[in-house]
Symmetry: none
DNA sequence: CATGAATGAGGGTTCATTCAT
DNA sequence: GATGAATGAACCCTCATTCAT
């Protein structure tokens, strides 16, 4: 009755396309990656790409969603990993989030910017691309998760949080700052090395700590 | 007696092209702006564009340099404007820098990202595009200026700065954070409005203050 | 059993493009032949051209190699054709070469000049266009073949050939002269007809005989 | 009464344009020489070019005529220079012509090919470009001159010249051969050096001698 | 499903030439 | 005469996408 291959919802080829596309997007950016290359690298004909994806944009969207899901999962894992331990401090959680972001950028550099971008969803495009809703919703979930974690941590540390909204703004600002810090560290790695004698990781560690202090 | 057209160094059309190109780059990005559109908007034929600029890239480079110079000037002006006043605090100067950045993004959004990007200058391209050197050097000048200002301010506040390099790293981290904050505020303005009941400006003000605290 | 499409190594369209391009190059020269025309004449869209050849230059190179190979084959065939006969004189072989050249120009007029041109092959372009090496090597092979044939013939006729180098120079000079003769005959055919009452072929015959005499 | 500057029929600028154009045509070929470069090199505005010449083609034609006249003059001079001497052999004159050709190519490389090309003069183009007639006529004059010289020489050497036409054909063939020889020597100079250990001049000398022998 | 084959719709760039001043 | 300014008409090339098989 049931089909045998139930778990393989996405055919092997679809997976391969996404895999290859992601790889290429990482290396040379989305714009510079041509469908020709994706096809060649994936070892299939260009037409086959279009069997699985209606357009290049759809591949991009697909990967965007994947990225979002990955980040959400990453955050959840990072946080929960701490849970077994005796004393999970706010500091630990804050750092866990930061490092999750770093990992995320390593895995999805071409989607890193998305975390500070508004996902525009006019009804028009939503009709034709329901995937956008998913992306948007996952983004929101990430937002809520972060806020939740930090809110909880905050109450441990600074009980004098009068306004909820003010606190969210604070978190949001953190979010932007972390984003900027990571972008900078990545782009100017060699400059940092040369002028400050720090590895990218060391620089980030200091930066995160600096930012952490503003949370308190 | 006096020569008539002495001051008009850059021909009217060149100015117009840059003006129009900048406008379009702001609106739709550099890649999406076609030379056709620039020509049309500027009210001249496409060929005429190429009388004044050898290529699209040259227009982009020209505007990049303009942007860099603009930012440097902006920073200098912002800082010196305070000088007349009785007491120019470190806080004032820090905020001046932040606001200069905001203004800069308003004027050159398509070049905002450049401030956290490495300007790659292989000898090859430098030979053919001396403008790249100018861009690079202006970028360095900006770096030095910022460091200079904050260093001076720092010594007022926190005299216990042992290592120079460590301090520069701190400033650099600030730089990245401010960048991220502004990007976020711009992109998510409506979200901020909706969820936090803050204008973009208010949000930024709070964010800058938050960051400022880490400097001390 | 037997594979169906094995022999069709070059796709039909590639062949067609080369065919058409060659035709047009012959008629109006390479420079004056536009890709638009090639496409139109070949009955396909301009983009399709670029499926089979990366650039116009590549078409030109392809035809150049084809031409070289054609000439080499032609020379070999012309010479060997005589072999069955009782007595193959040096004269026969000399004339065979001359006529091969005439045929070659008829088939590849736009490549005729190449036989007196140096094939410049800097390492740069050789890396990116390995076809250049093939062209060059076929050219060398032609040289060697000619020298071989005439050297052999020479020893029959004039056994008093002291220096090898001097002999090669002699052959080389012949080569240039034959080239010039053919070019002239082709360009001034009507003039020759009018002033000398000779067909192009008759004129060439006489010319070749005249040159032949200098070989002895 | 008479205008003062009678001899300066061609204004200074016209001369300069031709001079510069010729220089550039020599260096990089006619096609590759842009009007922009001519103007710049000539130190005048592009528009000024068009004051003196209706089109690029007109410059080319002008130089073509100049070249033809130069060659005619050169031939005449070369031949007459010998006249004072006691015994001007046919050999001397033949060589004089050959060397005149070499000199001609040195001075007008871009017009060298013209000597074996038919000057097409349909009535159409002749109406609009009377210069073509001049070019054509000078070409004819060159032809006649050569024929005259060689005819005269011939009668000294080989009195058994039955048919005039046959003789002209012979001369014509020489003409083509000399042309080819010079082209080859120029293009393959380094090859000649490498393989035959001859300078271009030595190679040509031998080649000319070789050809000369066929005249007898 | 998979693909070979083909292409429409541009995109940036070039250059001889014109014309008002 | 001389020129500054402008351009029309091409030209080569690119690439996401389609469709019959």
């Amino acid at each position: 009755m049931a089909r045998k291959k139930e778990p393989e919802r996405t055919p092997v080829n679809q997976k391969r396309i996404v895999e290859v596309a992601k790889e290429l997007f990482m290396e040379k950016g989305i714009e510079s990656t041509k469908m020709d290359e994706v096809a060649k690298q994936a070892g299939m004909s260009k037409s086959t790409l279009y069997v699985y994806f209606k357009s290049k944009e759809e591949i991009v969207d697909y990967i965007s969603l994947e990225a979002m899901k990955y980040l959400l999962e990453l955050l959840k894992t990072s946080i929960s990993r701490n849970e077994g331990e005796k004393e999970v401090t706010f500091h630990d959680q804050y750092m866990a989030i930061c490092h999750a972001m770093v990992t995320y950028k390593k895995e999805y550099p071409m989607n890193f910017q998305a975390i500070v971008e508004e996902i525009r969803v006019d009804d028009e495009s939503l009709k034709e691309k329901p995937i956008l809703r998913e992306i948007f919703e996952t983004g929101e979930e990430i937002n809520q998760f972060i806020i939740g974690v930090l809110l909880q941590g905050q109450s441990q540390t600074d009980s004098n949080q009068s306004s909820m909204e003010g606190f969210i703004a604070k978190i949001f600002a953190q979010w932007g700052s972390i984003y900027g810090l990571i972008v900078l560290a990545d782009n100017k790695e060699s400059y940092i090395q040369k002028c400050m004698h720090l590895t990218k990781e060391e620089f980030l560690e200091q930066g995160f700590e600096q930012l952490y202090r503003t949370m308190k």
